[in-house]
């Protein structure tokens, strides 16, 4: 099973796509094969295998885009698809001959999952399950999900570009529930990289389970979170969700071009505390947000978005870069061939600072130390964001004291980023998924640990 599409054939399809005018056309073809397994209640609930295969054709005329896709990879169907995407009026434009380009190698796979017997895959889930159940007797229910995937992509465009990439991806996630009397808490942990089976030699599945269980159990004794404005210490790794929501989305080229982002006019201006340097880097070896080329065939790169508090860059796909007379930063991404590309983050993180990690808490008389975060959301127009805290502790007189539950963090991106008053040294990344315009893509978020001098905590206590 493969993408059996010749350069001649796709050349003809591009010809059809531009037969009614337009400046640019591209084809994105995909063959993705995924094996997924679910375990719950000490049972392997199901094993699934799926194939997503098809092709999308896009035609750009100025700021207008025609897009069509098909899962029938026959020549007549591809031509029909190209015509559906074609501009409505204009003279034919001839695409350049397709020349294959090299793709940087960004994944290091030693044991491909296609060589791994199914029973060794289910073993990963059983081990994660055991890690969670053995942690504490109060762990009442554990569910484990797993997938491994190989996504083969092919991009051909009217400027003659032809690239192919094979993108591995895998994930192990554990959700645990702990119960004590009438109190019920949940915990969650995942590991995900673009690697082979060897990932689970470096990251023991038991440790993923244990971490989910630890979170659930440690929150059993939590009291309701205090509310209102106070200093907040964000954790290494997952704390990067804050950057992703508060800053990252607002720096995506489509929102910037349309002027709907709060950051649209921010280039060269101070948008954060001088301690803050934020980078999007799609080239980091084996990371969940990494790819060799983006879904428009542009090599991924390292883009500095904020340097010492000054906004220095945006994230671009081809369309928005073209319209803003700049270059794509290799951030044109799409969920599948059925989705048009959008400028998206890859691995987005804050660079390390100079503070010692233990000093972040020490300096606060009263505040919140966040250990784990749930999902977040941002309104990129106002810059307001919110995210859920799944594990947090009170800071009293410079020390971490009691666990608190039910906290939600809310604020305004530009305001909060100016209140970053300590950044720890080092780095840390966490794997996640990002949704935009109805499309989910794999990403990493990260930061080294930081403190915000004042941020609003939402909860039920007043």
């Amino acid at each position: 099973m493969s993408l059996d599409l010749s350069r001649d054939l796709l050349g003809r399809v591009l010809e059809v796509a531009l037969s009614r005018g337009g400046e640019f056309a591209d084809i994105f073809a995909e063959h993705t094969r995924t094996t997924s397994i679910g375990l719950a209640e000490d049972k392997v609930k199901s094993v699934s295998v799926g194939i997503v295969q098809g092709l999308g054709v896009r035609v750009i005329s100025g700021d207008e885009v025609g897009f069509a896709y098909t899962d029938e990879l026959t020549e007549p169907e591809l031509e029909k698809t190209a015509l559906a995407a074609a501009a409505s009026r204009g003279r034919p434009v001839h695409p350049a001959p397709l020349v294959a380009s090299d793709v940087p190698r960004r994944y290091d796979v030693r044991v491909p999952f296609s060589d791994v017997a199914p029973s060794r895959k289910t073993d990963i889930l059983w081990r994660a399950n055991a890690g969670a159940r053995d942690y504490d007797a109060r762990v009442s229910e554990v569910s484990v999900s797993y997938y491994d995937q190989e996504r083969r992509v092919l991009v051909a465009n009217s400027e003659g570009r032809w690239v192919e990439d094979r993108q591995p991806l895998n994930l192990l996630a554990v959700s645990a529930v702990a119960v004590d009397g009438s109190v019920r808490q949940s915990g969650y942990e995942r590991a995900s990289e673009r690697r082979g089976y060897e990932l689970f030699e470096d990251v023991a599945p038991e440790s993923v389970g244990r971490e989910a269980a630890r979170e659930a159990v440690s929150m059993l004794g939590a009291e309701e979170t205090p509310t209102g404005e106070m200093p907040v210490v964000m954790p290494r790794g997952w704390g990067g969700v804050l950057l992703h929501e508060a800053v990252g989305h607002g720096l995506e080229g489509d929102f910037v071009r349309k002027g709907t982002s709060f950051y649209a006019e921010s280039l060269g201006r101070e948008v954060a505390s001088p301690l803050v340097t934020v980078v999007d880097d799609g080239t980091l070896m084996n990371h969940r947000g990494t790819t060799g080329v983006d879904d428009e065939g542009t090599p991924t790169q390292r883009t500095v978005l904020i340097e010492k508090g000054i906004c220095t860059g945006f994230l671009f796909d081809l369309l928005n870069a073209r319209l803003m007379r700049t270059q794509s930063t290799g951030n044109g991404r799409r969920e599948t061939f059925r989705h048009p590309p959008l400028p998206r983050m890859t691995n987005t993180f804050m660079e390390g600072g100079e503070a010692a990690a233990e000093d972040l808490v020490r300096g606060a008389r009263y505040g919140l130390e966040v250990r784990k975060l749930g999902g977040g959301q941002v309104d990129i127009t106002s810059g307001n964001f919110v995210f859920k805290v799944s594990e947090a502790y009170l800071i009293e007189n410079g020390r971490t004291t009691r666990p608190v539950r039910g906290a939600t963090l809310i604020g305004n991106g530009p305001e909060i980023m100016k209140r970053v008053d300590m950044v720890a040294s080092g780095a840390g990344c966490a794997a996640g998924s990002c949704g935009k315009g109805g499309q989910m893509v794999p990403v990493c978020v990260g930061e080294p640990g930081l403190r915000i001098s004042a941020m609003t905590i939402g909860g039920t206590r007043s």
Binding site: S48, G50, A68, P118, E141, E229, N384, G411, T456, T460
Partner: protein, 449 residues
């Protein structure tokens, strides 16, 4: 574009192959259809997507062991390979006696799910509607400077469910929707708001004028919002914001989650979990309903169920597997996102029943409180029963709307929220699968400065 694929032939062949390969039961869910998506911004067609699609999902049971496959590639070679693989993968699953496929049962006739006239609506007409909607926002006052774009989208689907026990259901459905997102500017802020209309038939869409006016009214009301001090006050949730609570309730009444202790409603069946004003219904049989379907994701006929009756929790949702496990009957709530995903338990048309008073009356009784027009993020944890969301809206003083509010959260225990609902308005519209009218909660924590 149209895809001429005999989904019935593909489904029948898959089941046959699965049984040949050793499956004891098999079920195919196949879909094909066409979609159009138009996004307009300031008169320009930012994106015009047209596509046909198809796909099939197959569940196989080998003596109680479950495997699933899905593919958009219908070539015999691919499908035969996948079936063989799925049947052998089933050996890795744990045998569960509750795993079984449903028997054939007659499905209700639900009118209005498919609009035969949609095919006759030309692309030009759809483009015109989208452009008109986007242009209309600029007539709504000097504060409206921009839009995030206006979207028209539609889809026509043919669905087929077939299993080895002789169950077969085939039905067509259509969706049409328009969304508008004007941006208001002023008071040093930018503020976007959204409004939408969606229906099964093109002719049932609301006029673009109404949608544009409502979205702009919201953007203007929200403009300049700042945080208020943290306090406990009555909160009125507007009909467009109120569904956040119901989404969490929908997850918590999932019969499988309840069985596994992953719901705050464990042990609450038959108990009073809400005030007398709270009646919540799940109904897959509503004429033209956005969440209606003659059968659920595994072919069980859907029906109307009282979930909460005057505050009393009456029923959980079950598919065939979880119903057998909990020793009850399936409720027709097996849901599929698409052919590519295994069915899981979900709601159909899930709504809070309307009351008799107008939203204005419900607001006017509040001396000091918060009128929420929009929620942001997270909202509910069905395990712990906590509700917490970012919120934007307008402060209410002596029954009147006063200054805009943003950057705050509203939070409460979901049980306290349900018990605290002391007024429900009459403005319910079932244009989303999950819907509420405007309602008031006696007390929630509004966290700000």
């Amino acid at each position: 574009m149209s895809v001429e694929v005999g989904i019935q032939a593909v489904a029948e062949r898959l089941i046959e192959r699965a049984l040949d390969a050793g499956a004891t039961e098999a079920e195919a869910f196949a879909q094909n259809g066409e979609r159009a998506h138009i996004q307009v911004i300031r008169g320009r067609v930012e994106n015009l997507t047209r596509a046909g699609f198809k796909g099939v999902g197959l569940r196989v049971l080998v003596e109680g062991r479950l495997a699933f496959l899905s593919s958009s590639d219908f070539s015999e070679q691919t499908l035969d390979g996948l079936v063989a693989e799925a049947v052998s993968l089933a050996a890795e699953a744990t045998a569960e006696p509750y795993n079984a496929l449903p028997e054939m049962d007659a499905a209700p006739e639900i009118p209005g799910l498919y609009d035969p006239d949609l095919a006759a609506v030309s692309l030009d007409r759809k483009l015109e509607v989208a452009k008109r909607l986007d242009a209309l926002v600029f007539d709504q006052g000097p504060e409206i400077h921009n839009t995030e774009g206006s979207v028209y989208s539609d889809g026509v689907y043919e669905n087929l469910i077939l299993n080895s026990k002789g169950l077969v259901h085939r039905w067509r459905e259509s969706f049409v929707s328009m969304v508008v997102s004007p941006v208001a500017e002023g008071k040093g802020q930018k503020q976007v708001a959204h409004d939408w209309t969606s229906a099964r038939a093109f002719r049932d869409l609301k006029p673009p004028e109404d949608v544009a006016r409502e979205a702009c009214r919201r953007a203007k009301l929200l403009l300049g919002g700042e945080a208020v001090e943290t306090q406990k006050v009555p909160v009125v949730l507007d009909a467009r914001a109120g569904a956040a609570l119901l989404g969490g309730l929908g997850q918590a009444i999932n019969g499988e989650s309840v069985y596994r202790g992953r719901s705050f409603l464990v042990d609450q069946l038959g108990k009073k979990i809400g005030s007398d004003r709270v009646t919540v219904i799940d109904d897959g049989t509503i004429e033209s309903g956005m969440g209606s379907s003659p059968v659920d994701g595994e072919g069980v006929p859907t029906r109307r169920k009282l979930i909460v009756e005057k505050g009393v929790l009456r029923c959980f949702l079950y598919d065939t597997y979880s119903a057998r496990k909990a020793k009850t009957r399936p409720t027709g709530n097996s849901a599929r996102d698409s052919y590519a995903s295994r069915p899981v338990i979900g709601t159909l048309n899930f709504y809070l029943e309307a009351g008799e008073r107008t939203p204005g009356e419900v607001l006017s009784e509040v001396d000091n409180g918060f009128f929420v027009l929009r929620t942001l993020g997270g909202a509910t944890n069905p395990v712990t029963g906590d509700f917490s969301a970012g919120a934007a809206g307008v402060w209410i003083k002596n029954g009147q709307l006063t200054q805009p509010v943003a950057k705050v959260t509203i939070a409460a225990k979901m049980l306290d929220m349900l018990q605290g609902i002391d007024a429900v308005a009459n403005d319910l519209t079932l244009d989303s699968p999950t819907a509420t009218p405007t309602y008031r909660v006696r007390e929630m924590t509004v966290s700000g400065t």
